[in-house]
């Protein structure tokens, strides 16, 4: 981690997630060397049948982290783009668990400290292991791009364009192209 500045974000595409929980397994193996999905810093939440959702919950590495703000012992600090748990400062009060708006910090009875994503030093195991590419490491500059593009496309759907057919000026909306008249 030394000297490395995290400029990428770990993002989740819930529509891609199948709920296989391989991310949980590799996370726990990487950090604790045990086969226990309950010791992972990422968890897949599953709801069914309404709504149908499989969503991995993992730390967003907030720039203004609420967990750090409530920490009474200065054990959570934003260092090089990653919110890091300073183990020797932590008093295990778990205020951070309650403060996190996403519930992305975890506790386990065997562990003295809260379990929090450390981005595996910049190369997260969960991203590499996800068989559905539901977890991605993307540059901050790209964040939100798909939403922006969707917005553009839905706006364009309503856009009118002018064109000439046999010398006659006509107007059509993108949404009407291909529709049978």
């Amino acid at each position: 981690m030394e000297g490395y500045i995290m400029t990428k974000r770990l993002t989740v595409i819930p529509e891609q997630c199948s709920g296989c929980r391989i991310c949980e397994l590799v996370c726990a193996i990487k950090h604790f060397r045990v086969n226990n999905p309950k010791k992972a810093a990422i968890r897949v939440m599953i709801t069914y049948p309404h709504p149908v959702m499989r969503m991995p919950i993992v730390c967003s590495q907030c720039r203004s982290p609420l967990c750090a703000r409530v920490c009474p012992a200065d054990a959570l600090r934003l260092v090089n783009g990653v919110v890091q748990l300073i183990e020797e400062n932590c008093v295990s009060c778990y205020k951070c668990l309650e403060a996190c708006p996403f519930g992305a910090i975890y506790a386990h009875q065997d562990c003295d400290l809260p379990i929090k994503c450390d981005m595996c030093g910049g190369d997260p195991e969960c991203v590499k292991a996800c068989p559905k590419a539901a977890l991605r490491l993307i540059p901050e500059a790209v964040l939100g791009e798909s939403k922006r593009l969707n917005n553009v496309l839905s706006y364009a759907q309503m856009k009118e364009i002018e064109f000439y057919e046999k010398g006659e000026k006509k107007i059509i909306r993108y949404a009407e192209i291909g529709e049978e008249s």
């Binding site: 529509e15 199948s18 929980r21 045990v34 086969n35 226990n36 386990h108």
Partner: protein, 619 residues
Amino acid sequence: MSIKSGYFKKHLHVDLTRGNAERLDLSETFIKKYIGGRGFGAKLIWDNLRKHDFKIDPLGPDNLLVIAPGPLTGVYLPSSGKNSFVAISPATGLYGDSSMGGGFGVELRQAGIDAVSITGRAPELSVLLIENGETTILAMPGLKGKNCLEAEGLIKERLGTHAVHVATIGVGGENMVKFACVNTDWSRNAGRTGIGAIMGSKNLKAIVVRGDKDIPVYNVAGLVAENAIAFKYMREHKYFRMWQQEGLMNVIAYANEKGILPSYNFKDGVFAKHDQINGATMLSGYKIGDSACFSCPMCCGNICLVKNGKYAGTVVEGPEYESCAMLGSNLGIDNFAAVLSANRLCDELGIDTISTGGVIGAVIEGYERGILSLADLDGREITWGDEEAILGLIQKIARRQGIGNVLADGARGIIKRWPEMDKVILHVKGLEQSAYDSRSSLSMALAYATSDIGAHHTRAWTIAKEMEQGQNWSDDEKVDIVIYHQKVRPLFDMLGVCRLPWIELGLSERHYANFYKYVTGEEASLEELLERSNDIYNLTRLINVRLGTSRKDDSLPRKVWANPPLTGPTAGRIIKQDDFNRILSLYYQKRGWNEDGIPPASLERKFEDWAVPAWNEHR
């Protein structure tokens, strides 16, 4: 070599009549010999049968229900979410088991248990709660009549957490429908052999599990390295993406092409409108998400939503091939939305889609042939593709209303009531046949006939291989492949992993011996493991033999002898009695059983070690 890790060496025995539960130790000999899953199940069932002198009413309090994951369940390796439910089946009266995927078995392991056995009958409708070291039996009579999904929701609400796994029965199980299933994780079912009815007979509505323990692994680094190879192989396989997208639904097109798709109650092997219920149809307008069992990159599960029409709003986890074929083409339904609706209804009511489709198909044909009268059908005519009547009949079966009360007793019950129905219902030993027509594959016919649980395809699925490569196979080769499958496939159930990466993507079975080594610390070759798996096959045969099975029961549905498929590539093909008898004798010979299918008496001694049954002494 000894077992160094991989197990908690704990067995939870619950007596619902007395309302107590105890954690008992499992000996190393027991663990090594029976491995886990259906291996543990078979041994515990055997001991229980011996205790009751082989006189057990499947739906009585003495029938033991065993729930067992395997040593590899929940471990970081491909598709490790499997868990077996084992008991004497109410459908066949013989050994029965059903394995399910999802995450229930993983949670059970995390609660520190290698097997649960349940006996007795609770005085009130109850829920068994297993939480790390504690076990509680909660009376929850309010759950009576609730469907599986409702029950799971209500239990989670009552406990105030979503972080539990629930295995529940629906109305079908409560009414002891002989093909009732157990539903976990909302829609993962242990469907076959009527395990749900056994929970119903025990007044046990649900089992709730929560655990936090580490799943013991002897050599994590070795496991991770082995996995890297296995996962890489799978991800690079040319059909990997297809499995993620379509899952088992791709089989519809294949089965139709080969002429083995059940259509109109197996009258035909092709379905004219198969393209309206196949994987492509699902992808084009219904699929909204993927669903995977624990640690499975293949995610063969589909989640579908009906967006419009009269079934609009129906969400179902599925369908997969068996459900879609048995509730679709087998009933003449070409409307995919109706298939989804029927599948969802079966999930809610907690009845098996394969048996339900088989039974309803037989009813429609029975009526068509005049075996059943309009009065038998409670005055409501039913024909092929009549969605409304079929959905109504599913409800009636689960609720045991009218004709449903007879149908709920499965093939055996139906034949008892209307002996002529034997001509149209496809079953072996009382279990309705899976969605692979065996009339064009002698090895598949042999597989169905000799399967310990009845006409189910999981024990040996040789049909595709025989159709593609085996036109000129000798009897020897056919028997060998059946026996080989019957050795390998149970091993997967015993280890607690899914067989799909092996059978569908060709992941070498050698990996599993390595996985076993890294998890347990015991160096056992694949051959040694297969030997243990073969022992279990012999053990379940012994159970069945002691319960009355012999050569006469290793037979085939009457249709397979008498009525060939009408059209398609397999038209006109049937299994000839002579061919079958010859291959069956050869099978017995290769198994070392006598001409009547009875294993030698000496074999019994192999299983007489009373290694486990500490709980016998506690009674």
